[in-house]
């Protein structure tokens, strides 16, 4: 091979190193946001004190209780949920060849909302605490919505367009069922449903964080083992098939991953929109579509976005935690618009 051809390999390796650098910068920003999230709240804590508590060097029991019991689970939940929603959005956009795909597109969030509302209304009759009945209902119906789409996907000749249509049909079905439940609900139950639908990190505790983190830790590496095949899918179904990728099987695996990630994320925090749509786009703009970099970058930037939104939700109205789902859209939409308009300046 001549020097020119060698330089192509070298340049590609340099581009990969640059992408890894972008991920490391994202991780550094995430660490800063994580510390800020813990420091922010009705009682503002100095960052230095927060770091000392986390390092086990601060003996103040009050501050220790605030950090470890109250704020750490919320800050960690923002990170794992943001990462889960973003990776799930990235996979959906890839396997459906649709940049608008997110957990909303496939009706998964709609299913979760209906499942949670159902448990708020009738969960009292079940032999489990409502605190767990609501996430269980949300997860079950999110998985059901995904199962419907997977079922459509397994039919012969199912195209990405057909899957998106099936998802939109699911969305409308569950929205109608949710509206029916809201119509039938008592004023107290209705208020509870509406608050759940806003999305909130305040329901986080160590167990719930561990559940979402475990699912993320299991699913992401499995997705990464198929990273090159997912990358090939970007070239279109036919081309991927011609390259030897078993497209239908890959799409099915992707849908199952999406179901697990989104179901776990929305079950505990409610429907938080926008992260699953925007964070994958940010990752794509920054590191390109090689899924070996794209999926970790999506996880990092999804976590960062939701962590920043968590900080903002506590700063908008001091003393009150603004619903996180509203914050993600309010700060996310202008940020996304700016990003899209300046995308040509963003380096790979």
């Amino acid at each position: 091979m001549n020097a020119t051809a060698l330089s192509a390999t070298t340049a590609w390796r340099a581009a990969n190193a640059r992408r890894a650098g972008v991920c490391l910068l994202g991780l550094a920003a995430l660490a800063a946001s994580f510390a800020a999230d813990i420091a922010t709240g009705p009682a503002m804590l100095p960052i230095g004190d927060v770091l000392r508590v986390l390092a086990g060097q601060n003996a103040d029991p009050m501050m220790g209780a605030i950090v470890w019991k109250l704020r750490l689970p919320i800050a960690l939940m923002a990170i794992v949920v943001g990462a889960a929603l973003s990776v799930s959005g990235a996979i959906m956009q890839t396997i459906l060849h649709n940049p608008l795909a997110s957990s909303y597109t496939l009706g998964i969030s709609g299913g979760a909302g209906f499942g949670a509302a159902l448990m708020i209304l009738v969960g009292g009759a079940l032999p489990i605490a409502q605190e767990w009945a609501i996430p269980l209902g949300a997860f079950t119906f999110a998985a059901l919505a995904c199962a419907i789409v997977v079922g459509v996907g397994r039919t012969r000749g199912a195209t990405p367009e057909l899957l998106v249509l099936a998802g939109i049909a699911c969305l409308f079905l569950f929205q109608a069922l949710l509206a029916l439940l809201q119509f039938l609900a008592s004023p107290e139950a209705l208020a509870q449903i509406v608050f759940w639908l806003f999305g909130s990190l305040l329901r986080a505790d160590a167990t719930k964080v561990a559940i979402v983190a475990t699912i993320l830790a299991l699913v992401l590496p499995v997705l990464l083992t198929g990273a090159w095949r997912l990358t090939a899918l970007q070239l279109g179904d036919d081309r991927a098939r011609a390259l030897g990728v078993r497209v239908d099987r890959l799409r099915l695996r992707g849908l199952i991953a999406v179901s697990l990630l989104t179901g776990a994320a929305v079950a505990f925090v409610g429907t938080i929109g926008f992260i699953g749509l925007v964070a994958p786009h940010i990752a794509r703009m920054l590191v390109g579509e090689d899924q070996r970099h794209m999926l970790p970058a999506a996880a990092i930037f999804g976590a960062l976005l939701l962590s920043l939104a968590s900080v903002a939700s506590k700063l908008i109205m001091p003393g009150t935690v603004f619903p996180i789902g509203i914050v993600t859209a309010l700060i996310g939409v202008p940020f996304f618009a700016w990003l899209v308009l300046t995308a040509h300046r963003v380096r790979r």
Binding site: N2, A8, T9, A11, L224, A227, Q234, L235, G236, A242
Partner: protein, 244 residues
Amino acid sequence: MSLALANVGVRYASRAALVEIYLTAQQGEVLAILGPNGSGKSTLLRAVAGLVPASGDITRPDAVAYLPQDNLSRAALTAFEVVLLGRVRSLAFRPGLHDLDAAAASLDELGITDLAQRRIGELSGGQRQLVFLAQVLAADPSLLLLDEPTSALDLAHQMHVLDHLRAATRRRGLTTIAVLHDLNAACRFADRIALLHEGRLRATGTPAEVLQPGLLRDVYGVRVAILPGPDGQPVIVPLALAGD
């Protein structure tokens, strides 16, 4: 024998797209598939590639590379990555030197190393076509299936690509089957030609055997003159529509 089709047929819903195709191609041979629009050329390649269900028997090697007709992908991937994906079947998470060298060599072979770090969405249609050609060559195939591989290329690139493919077919002992529209390019490029019409194989043979005025009038509905070219290959000159 590298490729053999026996009584191959393809149906789309109620329409027969291919009927009773018997065809063979040897190692080191370039076979051009010709025929008017809708005659089943692309369907034949897709059937051989295993992308559409076909009846009958298709005997082919395992290592098949297929270049589809469209090259509209605008994925945020660099040309180097697209070419590397030609080897997706064997790529490790961190690709080995062997795979990286194959991708770089393939870009080099087609003279497009300078495009390596450009995103394919930024490239012209012709440049993208060259990148996807490099991709199928990087796959190290035994059977190369190309659907209109030069449709977006200018004259110089058409000649470069066809000459290169022919040389690579000989050198690597490939079997290359290409759908072409340009009859004169087929004469120059192909060892043999298969002429399709309405899903049926009308003729196979050397360019001189297949490209006869009567047959071309029947299949294309065009009157042609066939003149001896300076390099000994026939040159086809369209004269008028057959009804004129």
